[in-house]
Amino acid sequence: MVEIIGAYQVSLITTMGISVILALSLNLITGFCGQISLGHAAFIGAGAYGAAMLTTAGWPFAAGLAAGTAIAAVLGLVVGLASLRVRHDFLAITTMGVGFLFLGVVRQQEWLGGEMGISSIPDAGLGKGGYMVLVVLIAAAIALFSVHLKRSWMGYAFDAIADDEDTARMVGVDAARYKLTAFAMGTGLAGLGGGLYAHDVKFIAPDSFGFIESITILSMVVIGGIGPVWGVIVAAAVLSVLPFWFQFIEEYKLLLYGGLLFAVMRFSPGGLAGFVAGFVAKHKRRRAAAP
């Protein structure tokens, strides 16, 4: 595999796959259930630290990855419980606070490596090509799961909550339970992505899980259209390798990135999916859009 497409492409596809996993995990919370989170990196970090600490201590890769996922999901459940009290903008700021708090605490923990982070994370033992295949398979599985979830009863309940929580409650949807479920699933998968990231890069430090990381993942979801699975996948795949494609104009890379985020929101808030859907059904949409 590595010989055919080259180490660089393998490395890029791995990065891309991890981004897709992370974006889809946030999409469960923000896209499906309508709960804006600005602190997703905390859960990615929890999974990365959990998995890395355990495999460094001698656990097998799969067990470490599973434990990281579980740690992130438990943390997500706790934050989810707390978040039930707040909504909309307050929720956005609360989750942002969770992200900053997570970093603030991890920085001070010497047993987690403190500012030095954790280096020498053991190799997963699959080889570069094997690892890429694993990441892509997991990403594909999560994509299929997302599509399936969207069509299930739970998916409809999520939709109802995202649409209008009060109405959903009124027709008997147990909003709290569904929101918690979305949080636990989304943060658990974020932890899984974090564990995969840790064993790809093999070095983690607090700075890798900061606010910018949360925003990066959120922008993938947003540019993908917030909800549509394929839109989010394409956005995550493209945005994660955008920095590498834009190397030739590296001076302006972040400018482009920020500008793009702004422009999509300003001119096509439905994101990529909305843009394409609008393009395909332009006339139909124009008629339907009149309030």
């Binding site: 500012e115 280096s119 983690i204 890798s208």
Partner: protein, 382 residues
């Protein structure tokens, strides 16, 4: 999904073809540095420093008749970016050696990739102790934080004769490892630590710490940080009436520090790698050439980038072949007079050189003393 991934190798192929045409008889050196983001200033200096070494070598005829090309990618000082970049430099650009002009996280992550591929990698100025522990293909031309911290203890306790010291510590791998080295040897030089305060890399306002330091009434302050944190810190210490000596490290080493701290910078002493008043033609030549090329004064990061590139070039000349193993062996056994002094490497790939002590006088960095104490400055061996 399949068709999407199918496109990637095609793009790569196009890239290889385009690159291949131009690069028929050049030798490539890989270089990753933060050219955007918070660390962009250091990345730029390191990049210009390394490019200067390449230009100088090309003017002398390159490496064994071939011109040298520095292939530069922006890693934003992020490990997430440096890993694919290392793979790209090795797999696609086919560099024979890599240089990091980046910070610790990015460098540590990339070091693993270079080690696994068996390509030598030289870290110009990143301080994380685990970088060289990635393996025997990884070298470092700057001091590990601990070594420089020990030199700081000697400077404070012996050279300056100050015994009651307050530590102000930047909370990252750089600031903490310096402080650890300092504390490790403090007792040896009769120093007592009267207080220790931490700040984050984003802090520019040190009012509370300054107030507390004043109350502690130390004889000297050992403050770790970079010019953009140390500048405001020293400025605010002096404004609050704290007049005791402030001792810094290579992170201060920039003309920008003096600009920010203003008159308060006078008398600040630092441990670093670049001697502004050096009689060595290698160093004075670099300082002049860098200012001409960059349009601003040389700093430690620039000199480190220059030194790392110089080591890479010298090793490739010495090896006389493209074989990475031969180049690695050449680095391991090299002894070289560079802009940061006479350097060689120990078993782990850590540099052995003297610590330069500089002081701010009349708004310029000047020579203060040199610490050459092999035992104190011995880098870790494993």
């Amino acid at each position: 999904m399949k068709s999407f991934f199918g496109k990637v190798p095609f793009l790569a192929l196009a890239g290889v073809l385009a690159a291949g045409a131009a690069a028929a008889d050049t030798v490539k050196i890989g270089f990753n540095a933060p050219l955007t983001g918070f660390a962009a200033a250091d990345g730029k200096s390191a990049n210009i420093g390394a490019q200067l070494a390449v230009d100088q070598a090309n003017a002398e005829g390159g490496i064994n008749g071939k011109q040298i090309e520095l292939v530069v990618y922006d890693d934003q000082a992020s490990p997430k970016n440096s890993v694919p970049i290392a793979n790209k430099l090795i797999g696609q650009d086919k560099v024979k050696i890599g240089i990091s002009g980046s910070y610790s996280g990015a460098t540590r992550a990339a070091a693993g990739v270079y080690q696994a591929a068996g390509i030598p990698y030289i870290s110009a100025y990143a301080v994380h102790p685990d970088i060289t522990r990635a393996g025997d293909y990884v070298f470092r031309t700057s001091f590990v934080g601990e070594v420089q911290g020990r030199a700081g203890a000697k400077l404070v306790g012996e050279t300056l004769g100050k015994k009651k010291v307050v530590l102000i510590v930047l909370k990252n791998d750089f600031g903490k490892s310096l402080a650890n080295g300092f504390k490790e040897k403090a007792a040896l030089f009769g120093i007592t630590v009267a207080g220790e305060y931490e700040y984050s890399i984003k802090d520019r306002q040190f009012g509370p710490i300054v107030s507390k330091v004043k109350a502690d009434a130390p004889e000297a302050i050992y403050a770790t940080g970079y010019f953009f944190t140390a500048g405001p810190l020293v400025n605010q210490l002096r404004a609050a009436g704290v007049t005791v000596p402030v001792i810094g490290q290579e992170g201060y080493d920039s003309q920008k520090f003096i600009e920010i701290a203003g008159a308060a910078a006078e008398g600040v002493v630092i441990t670093t790698s670049l001697d502004r008043d050096s009689k060595s033609p290698e160093t004075s030549g670099f300082i002049a050439a860098f200012e001409k090329k960059a349009g601003y004064k040389a700093d430690m990061v620039a000199a480190s980038g220059h030194t790392a590139a110089k080591v890479a070039i010298a090793a490739m000349r010495k090896a006389g072949t493209d074989d990475p193993k031969a180049i690695r062996d050449a680095i391991a056994s090299i002894t070289l007079q560079a802009s940061t002094g006479k350097i060689s490497f120990n078993k782990l790939g850590e540099v052995r050189k003297d610590v330069q002590v500089q002081v701010v006088r009349d708004g310029q960095w000047h020579h203060y003393s040199v610490i050459s104490d092999d035992k104190l400055l011995a880098p870790p061996e494993m």
